[in-house]
């Protein structure tokens, strides 16, 4: 341990910028009448998504949850939807969230999510608002081109001349070979999504235009577990992602309100977890009950606040904008 290891990894000027951006986020939502809320970081239920790993701990009591395993949330989505179902109206939250197994230049296992829900919006209208907020926060710090919006299909057609909704594994693998991507060992022969993720992260993302907000929307149904589906050919999940340059910044949904459908998706994800040898997670029954009681039609989005600060500060890595990243925590 060196004698300066107690010092923050981020410069103080960056931490001041971070505080300023937080204040401006709050002002943005206050001006629009969106209510700031706080929900628990610890929950008896957890996300079932096989690609997200929750930290867990054990509560030693007192009270009915005595001795129970509790999970640190990976996003505040479920309790925020309970608030929406209870009639909160439009809400936002600046939440510290936790994801095990994620560390790198653009990942820290605990990070700050700005998550908000707009009643009556669909995912396109919410994209408008995300663009407004992000453009306002980055103004004067990052030269931005006019935002672009294209579907997941258009994105793959443009960069790889491939229809991501129709291509089978063989075609996706051939595409990866054609573009000379390093193909990981043990890629599944019967599941397209990991191949789509490989093409997206290794070929498309590095080629997204610097200084431009790129919204990608209408994802394969298999990649939109919390989104509404829209009957199309093939059907798509009403999900969107925002990239600023090649930095993935936000993920949003036109939110699914059907409790039965949501339960089926959770159970499907837990079945996938079982098949992968991952722990099965307790489904959030409170969320399902809230959906059954009635979620107002809404769209919601989660934005990686640390990455936003990274972009605004002109830094290349999260450990330059987080006071004490994991290795120093």
């Amino acid at each position: 341990m060196s004698s300066s290891s107690w010092r923050p990894g981020a410069e103080l000027a960056t931490l001041r910028l971070r505080a300023e951006l937080l204040a401006r986020v709050r002002a943005f939502f206050a001006a629009r009448g969106v209510l700031e809320v706080e929900t628990p970081a610890l929950s008896a239920a957890a996300i079932t998504d096989p690609h997200l790993a929750s930290f867990s701990t054990v509560y030693s009591g007192p009270g009915p949850r005595h001795g129970r395993t509790l999970y640190l949330h990976t996003s505040p989505e479920f309790p925020m939807k309970r608030l929406l179902a209870a009639g909160s109206g439009c809400i936002y939250q600046i939440a510290r969230v936790f994801r095990d197994g994620e560390a790198g230049r653009r990942h820290n296992p605990e990070f700050t999510l700005l998550e908000w829900y707009r009643v009556g919006f669909d995912h396109h209208r919410l994209m408008d608002e995300v663009a407004e907020l992000v453009t306002a926060l980055l103004a004067g710090r990052l030269a931005l081109a006019e935002p672009e919006r294209l579907s997941y299909r258009e994105l793959f057609q443009r960069h790889l001349d491939l229809d991501p909704h129709r291509a089978g594994v063989a075609e996706l693998a051939a595409c990866a070979k054609r573009f000379e991507l390093p193909i990981p060992p043990r890629m599944p022969a019967d599941e397209a999504d990991p191949w789509l993720d490989l093409l997206l992260t290794h070929w498309i993302e590095p080629r997204l235009e610097r200084g431009r907000l790129t919204f990608v929307y209408d994802y394969p149904v298999s990649q939109a577990a919390l989104a509404r589906l829209r009957p199309a050919d093939p059907p798509v999940g009403e999900r969107f992602e925002l990239y600023v340059g090649d930095v993935e910044l936000a993920n949003g949904f036109h939110e699914l309100g059907d409790a039965d459908e949501q339960r089926r998706r959770f159970e499907g994800e837990n079945a996938a977890r079982r098949a992968l040898g991952l722990p099965v997670m307790p489904v959030d029954e409170h969320l399902l009950a809230a959906l059954a009681a009635g979620l107002p039609a809404c769209a919601g989005v989660a934005l990686g606040f640390d990455r936003l600060v990274m972009l605004a500060a002109g830094k290349a890595a999260l450990d330059e904008v987080i006071a004490f990243p994991l290795d120093q925590a």
Binding site: H51, E102, P184, R186, P194, L198
Partner: protein
């Protein structure tokens, strides 16, 4: 040999790929917010020195390579192999031309070298950073030149050729930086 999970990846880690030993040069974690995480790595082939890119699904495991660096004393060359000795165990090891590579021209008997062993066999040899050698041949320099501007080639006792200042003469002993192949200074013996 141990296996390593991608979570243990860091630069310097030695792993086996396609039957060859590699060292990780760079490791990057990439993950779409809602999808498969990958580790993109740059790895250096320890036999050829070539750097290539590979990707693993995060959480996968890779076989470790039994590669260690040891300090060995160079003994002699028998015309085909270079012989080294472990100064603690007195065990002798031989290295072939592929392992010794460019280091050959800097090897002087009794030099302590860093030798990389793969499964106990020398894979590469790094000479000492600085070597002291006698010049066996160089053109007589101009009288009166003491600054060393310009320079001239000089052949050393091992056959290596380095540029030396004009005032340095045959039979003199010099210090050379093997990493750059450059003359450092004269050495008084």
């Amino acid at each position: 040999m141990a296996t390593y999970s991608t979570n243990e990846f860091k630069s310097g880690l030695k792993i086996m790929l396609d039957g060859d030993p590699y060292a990780i040069v760079e490791n990057e974690f990439v993950k779409p917010g809602k999808g498969q995480a990958f580790n993109r790595v740059k790895v250096r082939n320890l036999k050829t020195g070539r750097v290539i890119e590979r990707t693993f699904k995060s959480g996968d495991t890779v076989e470790g390579a039994d590669v260690v660096d040891v300090e060995l004393q160079y003994l002699y060359n028998d015309g085909e192999y270079w012989h080294f000795m472990d100064q603690q165990s007195y065990e002798q090891l031989t290295a072939d031309a592929a392992a010794v590579g460019d280091a050959a021209k800097w090897l002087k008997e009794e030099a302590i070298c860093q030798v990389t062993l793969w499964n106990g066999v020398p894979l590469s040899v790094a000479p000492p950073n600085f070597v002291i050698m006698t010049i066996v041949e160089t053109d007589p320099g101009l009288r009166g030149d003491t600054s060393g501007g310009g320079g001239k080639p000089a052949t050393l006792e091992t056959g290596a050729v380095v540029r030396v200042p004009l005032f340095v003469q045959s039979g003199e002993v010099i210090k050379v930086d093997t990493r750059t192949g450059e003359y450092v200074s004269r050495v008084k013996e």
